[in-house]
Amino acid sequence: MDTFIAFLIPGLFTGAAYAIAASGLVLTYTTTRVFNIAHGAFGMVLSFVFWDLTIRQGLNVVLSLFLVLFVIAPLIGFIMQRLITRGLGNAPVGVSLVVTVGMFVGLIGFAQQYWPEDRIEPEAPRFVPPFWLTFADGDGVPGWQVAGTSITGLQLITILSSIVVAVGLYLLLNKTRIGTAMRASVDNPELLRLFGGKPDNAAALAWMIGMSLAALTGILLVSVVGLDYFGLTLLVVNAYAAAMVGRLKSLPMTFAGAMGIGVFESLAIGYSTDSPLLSTVRPAIVPIFLFAVIVLAPQAQLRIGQVKGMVSAPVPSIPRMGIAGAATLLVAALFVTTASDVRLLQLGTAATYAIVMLSLVLLTGYGGHVSLAQLSFAGVGALTYAKLDEPNLSGLVMATLVAAGVGALVALPVLRLTGLYLALATLAFAVIMEKVVFKSPDLGFGSGGAVEVERLSILGYRFESTGAYVFLMVAFMVAIGMGVLVVRRGVVGRMLIAMRDSPAACGTLGLDMRWFRVGLFASSAGIAGLAGALVAGLRRLTGEADFIFFNSLPLLLLAVVFGITSVTGAVLGGVGLMLLPVLQAETVNVLGSDVKLGGLMFMVIGIGAVLAARDPNGLSNYLFRFGRFLERRLRARIVAGLPQLTTPDGLAADGLTDGRTDGGADETAVHEPAPTGVPLGKVVSDGAPARG
């Protein structure tokens, strides 16, 4: 009983903090249909702001609190709604997820850059003292004694704050005009507009309040969790679980869920000393709970109202694919015979990331679903390969299949649900893998956190030298890239893109998308698993540190920035992600002072993703356009240079035509063979005046 009381009170405290965070999350989601993955990251940055104001600048605590909660946070919320998330609720859920993941990573980068960990400031210790510390009982112990255990001022304030927030939100939503508008815009902003409401104002208010609540959570928790970029940010995963209990709609249920999670988690800590199983599973209790709640969520309705085609990357013809693949292999062959071992490892890493990104091209680029756990699937592949200890093709195939099976297991329970729930299920899965499975001495990478791995041999040939092994990895990358393109050209590819462009239309045409989704998810996880197995062999050592949850996020974002709808984008993105740590270590000279790039790279990626998310074709699309432009110009030159060879029936044009695209109004001029009997000079009259 003593243990129960002793852990109940801290449980109520964390539950109250989760409740405040979760209610902010629910408020913004219900009003704007944007699930803010970055909710915790905003709380983290705002608690840093609070620390900066009070400890670094020496401002009065109450004044700082007022500034952060009622000025800075609402202002940021307003700016976010107006500049970034406006209209995002109508976009496909994949887009709004990528945008908020972009904010998540960008904010972590911002905090790392602006408040770097290694900056020594003796007058500003990186610590926020808990509120009301001065209050003490007779023995000088801070806090009150309640039933033999003490309750601190901070705990009391937090629990009281959560009650104030609950009552305040209830009154706002049920007793005010704008609150009614907020509730109505949940279901149908169009209808609200027709009835004279202003969904945009409701959305702005929701974001302002949501941001204040994120700030309040951050400030209440910072003295317990510490000023930690990731710790504070990821605590919000627990708030996601609470929000899911309320099915992202009901605030009372959200509160109940948050309190339940807080208390349960705390009690698990209290009792886990007696139970080895409980102490292993404990860090994953909330993610497991999140997963369970998602599985129990009701069938979601399909959204309608989409117009634009999301995918515009061209689909190369088979010969062109072959040429590009052969050229890549040739360059790789030249590279591996000349480069140093460091460079080889870099190339191998880039190929690994590229393969993982190819899995995202299939899943996100074509299918429109977002996975926040792609590196965890790679981890499953690496783990299987290492544990099997069969360094040959069958080991590799097993690693792929196990990862695919795990992917299907993640997707199966949520197959009735829409993209948001699927993405959150992957997030819960990633946290479970990182905190429990990969760390486990039996299931995971062992007590040292890493295991040794042998390199692959195929048909008796052992790829022992790093050069040969890296070449093999590039060959796998090329093969998978081509495989993805072959899928894109066929029935399955068309259906995937149709599902991405309009799930509602696919449904009304009679497509049961659920099994399609599971198959897609499994294939994508399998490809990621293969990449994991390959990279384990490259380093000859693989461990939990290679597959931490957070790293899946910059991977997803870079894939979007470089173009998640094309194989080229994935390959470029792989190189980009490999260079990330190299660039982060760089210092550049800005206006005479050295600036370390560090977190700035995360900021750049985050902002890039926020900007790029609405057009997932990314940077590589500009490359394609430039290529088409060059082709047009070169073609004109070549044709102009051959005026004497009169080609009466467009043979030459046919030779140059590759049927690279499957439609695309701007390309027809280039790709259509010259009409019969028309002299070529006329067809390309723009760049080359017809001669002869």
Binding site: F195, I304, A498, D501, C506, L509, G663
Partner: protein, 250 residues
């Protein structure tokens, strides 16, 4: 027995009632018009019928079966096809591939084996957009995209067609051709339920008309009866800002 029965359906969004105890039916081989001012609940009714929106109360029966809780794709396989007021074309695919996907879905595995090129072009020909076959669906005019959605529906050989403002974006000649096409389809036995703002088209082709206002059915009858119904006149003319011939703001 009517092909489609909407029985006392209520849909509420938060505090707003979008559809208020609406009951109506649509018959095979006949064209039924569903008209009413903006916000009257017409599209919401369509969403309830096709399964994209679960009603707060009431039931939908199709072909003798209650389908109120049947998933969208299964209603489609039972013979329900629909188009959308806000376009739902597959924008990344060409017009031809849009129809190809619909045929592939309809045929399941048979579609993978048997190439369907001639069927696709036949469908595009039928709705009159053959010349757009190679264009990307997000690059064609609105009216053409609506016809494309119709062609996609027809690929599934539906028993009931739900058309949500099919003629907006079409010019006068195209609208006339479209009206003829609808009459042909009805003559083949297809039931058609159509939400439409073009009163000339509605009055010309519909066999029966239902008028919705504030989520309620306020009038039922053939075109001439509807034209002279005082309640209908009030619903339309009572709002000075609603122009029945104008295309609504999507």
């Amino acid at each position: 027995m009517p092909l489609l029965e909407v029985d006392d359906v209520v849909v509420q969004f938060g505090g707003v009632t979008a559809v208020n105890h609406a009951s109506f039916e649509a018959e095979a081989g006949r064209i039924t018009g569903l008209i009413g001012p903006n916000g009257a609940g017409k599209t919401t009714c369509f969403n309830v019928i096709s399964g994209l929106q679960r009603p707060t109360k009431g039931a939908v029966r199709f072909n003798g079966r209650t389908v109120t809780r049947t998933p969208v794709h299964r209603r489609s396989r039972q013979g329900m096809g629909r188009t959308f007021q806000r376009l739902e074309a597959f924008g990344s695919l060409s017009v031809r591939d849009n129809v190809r996907v619909a045929l592939d879905i309809h045929r399941g595995f048979r579609g993978i084996i048997k190439p369907s090129a001639s069927d696709i072009d036949g469908l595009l020909e039928r709705v009159g957009i053959r010349s757009y076959a190679d264009d990307r669906a997000d690059a064609i005019p609105t009216g053409t995209a609506r016809l494309l959605e119709l062609a996609r529906c027809l690929a599934g050989a539906p028993k009931l067609l739900l058309l949500d403002e099919p003629s907006s974006g079409l010019d006068e000649t195209e609208t006339d051709d479209f009206g003829d096409l609808l009459e042909d389809l009805a003559a083949e036995g297809m039931g058609i339920l159509m939400v439409e703002h073009d009163m000339d088209l509605v009055m010309n082709v519909c066999d029966t008309i239902r008028v919705l206002d504030f989520g309620e059915v306020i009038a039922v009858g053939d075109p001439s009866m509807i034209r002279s119904d005082p309640k209908v006149q009030k619903a339309y003319l009572g709002y000075s800002d609603v122009d029945v011939d104008k295309e609504p703001v999507a």
